[in-house]
């Protein structure tokens, strides 16, 4: 692989198949890693907790993007699938007594199965009709866990207490170290998730998903088994989401239905769309952005409290308003999301000072 004035020239397919070719790209990768590493040393507990929330969101968003962005199956059932992951993992670890990591693994598989099941309508339904069907699955799952018939989930308590995360003698510590220790676990998992997704779409399987998205008849005509492709997409995606759900449960140590409502589904959808559909990086940007947004707003409001108390007294309303406004503005300015925005910036500088 050589870099010349006329661009990048690969001398072998393997070199071309690398994710990163230029020195600049390696540099960026390096910076990101450094960032990941320094975070726990610079942030206080509160911001660490935000960072952790973001990391979980990243996993969930990447998962959702596999389904929505890459396979073109719009899903409003995210919240429900998160719930499946959370409840199953907790029940497996705390009630059945499996070691937590194992429980999480099983939860991932289980969510994948459930996801596949709710993906079945996707075989017959197209686009918006499917979207609404997933909305239904969200409502149904939410109802089941909230109603909790016969207390089969929470024993009538309405919520489940989750034991401190522990594994082979190691247990997450108290207030002082809690967030940082979680950060390590979550950061590792998030990075793995992102890598896995990136890889998926460098290979035939991932491509077949995108083929289904772009032109399903043609996809079938080149030998893609639609049924299998769609269901696989649902399974893989739900797997990621299940992981996110399980982690939420063990991290926040209480599971209750309020955490998995339609709002959550919508929030995740917002993440991947504002971030950029069909782009892993986009999902990451989106997760970061959408998680930080309300926090930043609140801190702003608190800061400006003396100047305009209105902000403080109307905070949730203001947050919702800004949430809505940001989504609208973003999509109007760049419908293809943060990722595209970033690319355009890069393009601009590549071509700079020429316009094209």
């Amino acid at each position: 692989m050589a870099q010349t004035a006329t661009g990048i020239h690969h001398r072998s397919y393997s070199s071309e198949l690398r994710l990163r070719a230029t020195r600049a790209e390696y540099l960026r990768l390096g910076l990101m890693l450094v960032l990941l590493i320094v975070v726990p040393f610079v942030l206080d507990n509160y911001w660490m907790s935000i960072a952790n929330t973001i990391l979980i969101a990243v996993i969930g968003a990447v998962g959702l993007n596999i389904l929505v962005g890459y396979t073109g199956q719009i899903s409003l059932g995210q919240g429900g699938f998160l719930a499946v992951g959370a409840y199953s993992s907790v029940i497996l670890s705390d009630r059945i007594g499996l070691p937590t990591p194992l429980a999480i693994a099983f939860a991932v598989v289980l969510t994948a199965v459930v996801g596949t099941f709710f993906g079945l309508p996707g075989l017959r339904l197209k686009g918006l009709y499917l979207a609404i069907a997933t909305l239904a699955s969200q409502q149904i799952i939410e109802f089941l866990i909230r109603r909790d018939y016969g207390g089969f989930l929470t024993g009538g308590l309405g919520y489940i207490n989750v034991d401190r995360f522990s594994f082979l003698g190691f247990e997450i510590g108290g207030r002082a170290v809690f967030e940082r220790q979680w950060y390590v676990i979550l950061a590792v998992l998030a990075v793995l998730a992102v890598m896995a997704a990136r890889n998926l779409f460098r290979t035939g399987l991932g491509r077949s998903f995108m083929a289904v998205r772009d032109q399903d008849i043609a996809a079938e005509a080149i030998g893609v088994n639609l049924t299998r492709a769609k269901l696989t997409a649902f399974a893989v995606s739900s797997g990621f989401v299940g992981l996110a759900g399980a982690l939420t449960a063990h991290y926040s140590e209480v599971v209750s239905w309020e955490k998995f409502t339609l709002e959550v589904s919508i929030l995740y959808l917002a993440m991947i769309i504002v971030g950029g559909l069909g782009s892993i990086a986009g999902a990451v940007y989106g997760a970061i952005f959408m998680t930080l947004l309300p926090v930043v707003i609140r801190n702003l409001a608190n800061a400006l409290d003396s100047v305009m108390p209105f902000l403080g007294s109307q905070l949730p309303a203001v947050q919702n308003a800004v949430f809505g406004l940001v989504i609208i503005l973003f999509l109007i300015i760049e419908p293809r999301g943060l990722n595209r925005l970033w690319e355009r910036v890069k393009e601009y500088f590549r071509f700079w000072p020429f316009r094209y």
Partner: protein
Amino acid sequence: MLTRAYQHSLNGSSRPQGLPLLEVDDISLRFGGVRALTSVSFTVTQGHVHAIIGPNGAGKSSLLNCISGIYHPQEGQIRLHTGGGTDIEGREVAERSHLLTQLPSFKVARLGVARSFQNIELFSHLSVLENLMLGRHIHMKHSVLASMLWFGPARKQEIEHRHLVEEVIDLLQLQSFRHKPVGSLAYGIQKRVELGRALCIQPALLLLDEPMAGMNAEEKEDMARYILDVHELAGVSVVLIEHDMNVVMDISDRVSVLDFGRLIADGTPDEVKADPAVIEAYLGSDSDNPADAAAVREAVEHLTEEGTDA
């Protein structure tokens, strides 16, 4: 000739030349009241370029869709014969015949029936390369875990198949578009990419629906050349729908003519060309030879008159 240099044969068929490859046997297709096809039968021979012509709405595309399993005719059978010769690796393959009319289209594709579409159906958000790699889909293994792992089998497989794809890129002269999203390419290029995608399947049978529509004479020559290369050098059998009679007459070994869903003629180009029914239904006072460009003006005048008194 370019293609001699290639190490991969694009021909996925293991059928000796001259044997029947595809048998369309008395099929009928209806859409509600519309009879798109009515008891159509013909045979495609291994190693032939078999043209299907006919007026608009005659049922040509529908026929192709039946062969590739996208439509399923209410009556009749379509059989694809494989084997009876040696395959790409030179192994003997036993003779078998498959009932396409009962298979979903992805299974048909896995038998090596590749196609292009009348209104280009590419994966518009993907790059040319990705579109072609998708042509390799049926030849690749797809395990979720291996894919996510990337290093190891997945990567090896990608590189392996990339070789053939690059040969196709080279054959069709798509080098400069390799990484361009196909959506933004001009119509003619897209047509070529679509042919490429079909070739990457290493087809036993290649179905082309109006591959030269919307091209000027020069580009048609190129496209014709590509098709002939694939056919002559790789020995791929081709079923071709085309409205440009010159192309049809020049490059096809056999021609079937459809009209209102019925087969009205089936024979060598010259036989068909001479067939009055065909002229009546399809060719009209054909005049693509400028020598008698006058004919057109006649036609025009003629039309004008009947129009004015209409």
